[in-house]
């Protein structure tokens, strides 16, 4: 992260469009200060938000599987350059399908500064399942409540404050199609990355004996793979008997994944954004 950060105006001004600047940088992501991941269920307007932010023309289609690879793009916000990684749209992170694995591996090992989970305001309950799962993996989460216009039309009101309080992470209402709420969203993302907002993600625990078992496993995993981003989540997956995680652990692939995802994969970027277009 660069140290030449210019002193930012006060909290209130920061979200004012007159002060903040958003510049779309397309696929010029060679040089960036921060990485953010874009997760969400299919059909929540994830790709629309991606296009709005980066100025790229990723094809948006409202059916699952539109984005099966991760696409990358860049933008500049408040003099910080961001690389935005658009993950495949998924309902959960627990199954073995390739799109869910791509999303899961990146959030877990890619160590994005922040993960934006895009949700559909008209079907919030179902979307929250994924939000809760992402929050199991990482603390740096901002929830974007998208399609607010559609919700309004359908007579659905979403109380973002209540949501934010319950989840323990910022929840920002947006309408990606019209570009509404984007600055507030990016402001929250920046605050989370800079530690101005301390998130307290709600973690759904299961039974007390399960919690105890998790606590026993965590130090063992941390000892084996120092620098592992989220030993707690891995412990949960191991207790669940996730074959993929077991295999990753025993073949040493886990270490590989950690180092691969942590590499600033610049040459990867161009290729993926082209592939993602199909």
């Amino acid at each position: 992260m660069s140290n030449t950060k210019i002193a930012l105006p006060t909290e209130h001004c920061e979200t004012c469009p007159a002060f903040t600047q958003l510049e779309q940088m397309g696929i010029k992501v060679g040089d960036f200060d921060r990485v953010i991941a874009l997760a969400g269920n299919p059909n929540t307007g994830k790709s629309t938000l991606f296009n709005t932010l980066t100025g790229l023309k990723q094809h948006t289609g409202n059916w699952p599987g539109k984005t099966v690879t991760r696409a990358e793009g860049g933008f500049e916000f408040n003099r910080m350059r961001y690389k935005l990684v658009d993950l495949p749209g998924t309902y959960s992170l627990l199954s073995a399908s390739q799109d869910e694995e791509v999303a899961r591996d990146f959030i877990l090992f890619g160590q994005p500064g922040c993960t934006i989970v895009v949700t559909d305001a008209t079907a919030l309950e179902r979307n929250l399942n994924l939000v809760l799962q992402v929050m199991e993996i990482t603390e740096n989460v901002v929830v974007a409540i998208n399609l607010m216009d559609e919700a309004k039309r359908k007579g659905i009101e979403v109380d973002a404050r209540s949501l934010s309080r319950d989840l323990g992470v910022p929840a920002i209402p947006i309408t990606a199609r019209a570009g509404e709420g984007i600055h507030t969203l990016l402001g929250a993302v920046a605050d989370v990355i800079e530690g101005k907002i301390i998130t307290k993600p709600l973690r759904v625990g299961g039974t007390p004996e399960f919690q105890k078992a998790v606590k026993e496993l965590v130090p063992m995993i941390e000892q084996m793979a120092p620098g592992i981003p989220n030993a707690r989540w891995l412990a949960i997956r191991l207790l669940d008997g996730d074959a993929r995680v077991q295999k990753a652990l025993s073949t040493g692939e886990l270490g590989d994944i950690v180092s691969r995802q942590q590499r600033a994969d610049v040459q990867f970027s161009g290729k993926m954004s082209v592939e993602g277009r199909q």
């Binding site: 059909n43 289609g61 409202n62 059916w63 799962q133 399960f210 084996m224």
Partner: protein
């Protein structure tokens, strides 16, 4: 700390947990989501049956669902056929006109005949053919297809076809990847990543080629218009042609089911797995994005790829046609040598030769074939109308209805293009599956065309 120790520890901890701890976790996840949503969401309207739901009742109903789907497919193809016919003629006139002008210009400058021939009768002619045959249908089909895609219709297709795929032992989401195949088979193969079971994903990959991609639609449309529809009154031509193409597409879908069924009972044994599919809300398609996606990302992409193969193919044909052997030329000799095999399949030697030259992008088979006919036989100026093409093929080269029908079947069933084969290899990381995809499709094409040719000859239709 060793990995094995951790795994063993996890194992023993898991065994000590009370049974059903997994359900407990999932349940608390759902309960939590429900509670949070209940607190945050207020619904003021009570219109239970909004537009989306009424629409879905109709398009996914057991009775109307399939007819509506077929109707939409027919409509898109009819629009494509009737629109492309007009535009193709204009483009042909302009492009072949430029060719004549260029040839004259080269002669005037006094360049040797072989430079003029190579450039204008070889490379340029190849490009002109591909553009005039392929561009117009794509310009109409892709936006129409992208419109339905953006509208949110494709998941409804998957819903309607699910039971059929299930019966064949394949995954219901295969209908989504099949639909993508109409655009481009390589894209369809990549789209199979949404299928989580490796077995069902392989079936979807191997059978994707049985739906004609946009590169192959122009071939089908041209043959359907010039041959099948030609004997009907002009007012009906576009409907008959569209109906024929729809029929060919349905045959392709039929082979998709058949191949899936055979695969799931032989090399890829197993049961169809269950899945949930969300029917997303209908969204108003964004016109500018549709045009951008369909024209830039799709049409130009496919056309550019075809042109890259068409230019060298044109050059090769010109060279083959201009190496004289006795009274004949090399192209003629090779075509004659391939003729018996071609006739066996109801085709001819020239078609097989064109097919071999066009292996890198076999959607250019028809343009290549036209050039070979023109190169080896009577040299006429570029045919610019359907009756010109009909004359060239039937009167000049002895085509029959069987040739046209079998070429359509061959184009539908034959092996994937080089890009798709590469994509299959990349996605499966296996030479075996990539090879099987070629052998299976090419084998089907040969068997089917041989069968129809024998049948036609047996009954004395030709």
């Amino acid at each position: 700390m060793e990995a094995n120790e951790i795994l063993a520890k996890a194992e023993s901890l898991r065994n000590n947990l009370s049974t059903g701890f997994r359900d407990e976790i999932v349940k608390s996840l759902y309960t939590e989501a429900e509670n949070i949503a209940k607190r945050a969401v207020k619904t003021s309207s009570d219109k239970k049956y909004d537009f989306d739901q009424r629409m879905d009742r109709l398009v996914t109903s057991p009775y109307a669902g399939l007819p509506i789907m077929l109707g939409l497919l027919g409509l898109i193809i009819w629009l494509t056929v009737s629109g492309a016919n007009v535009v193709s003629g204009w483009i042909a006139v302009v492009l072949f006109g430029i060719g004549d002008y260029g040839r004259a210009l080269f002669d005037q400058i006094g360049l040797p005949w072989w430079i003029t021939g190579f450039v204008w009768d070889g490379v340029y002619l190849g490009l002109a053919w591909v553009v005039s045959v392929m561009l117009p249908p794509m310009m109409i089909f892709f936006p129409a297809f992208t419109f339905l895609e953006d509208l949110g219709y494709l998941p409804r297709v998957a819903f309607n076809l699910d039971w059929m795929f299930k019966k064949t032992g394949a995954h219901g989401k295969q209908s989504l990847t099949m639909a993508m195949g109409f655009g481009c088979n390589a894209a369809g193969v990549i789209a199979t990543r949404v299928i989580d079971s490796p077995r069902e994903r392989l079936i979807a990959i191997l059978t994707n080629n049985f739906v004609p991609c946009n590169g192959r639609f122009p071939t089908l449309i041209m043959l359907a218009t010039v041959f099948v529809a030609a004997s009907f009154p002009p007012a009906l031509t576009s409907f008959i042609a569209a109906g024929t193409v729809v029929g060919v597409v349905l045959i392709g879908v039929g082979f998709t089911f058949l191949a899936s069924w055979i695969l799931s009972r032989t090399v890829l044994k197993g049961e169809a797995s269950a899945f949930t599919l969300e029917l997303p809300p209908y969204r108003r398609p964004n016109v500018s994005r549709i045009l951008y996606t369909s024209i830039i990302d799709r049409t130009i992409f496919v056309l550019w790829r075809a042109m890259q193969t068409a230019a060298p193919a044109g050059a090769i044909i010109w060279i083959l046609a201009n190496i004289s052997i006795g009274d004949s030329n090399l192209a003629r000799v090779i075509a004659d040598w391939l003729n018996p095999f071609g006739l066996l399949l109801g085709l001819d030697g020239v078609i097989i030769l064109a097919y071999i030259i066009a292996i890198p992008a076999n959607e250019i088979v028809v343009p290549t074939m036209m050039m070979v006919y023109m190169g080896v036989g009577m040299m006429i100026n570029g045919p610019t109308s359907n009756s010109d093409i009909f004359n060239l093929l039937v009167n000049g080269n002895g085509w029959t209805m069987l040739t046209a029908v079998n070429l359509m079947l061959f184009a539908l069933l034959h092996n994937p293009c080089a890009t798709t084969i590469m994509t299959i290899y990349r996605e499966t990381k296996s030479l075996k599956w990539a090879t099987l995809s070629v052998v299976m499709t090419l084998g089907t094409a040969i068997v089917v065309t041989f069968f129809t040719a024998s049948l036609a000859r047996f009954f004395g239709w030709v």
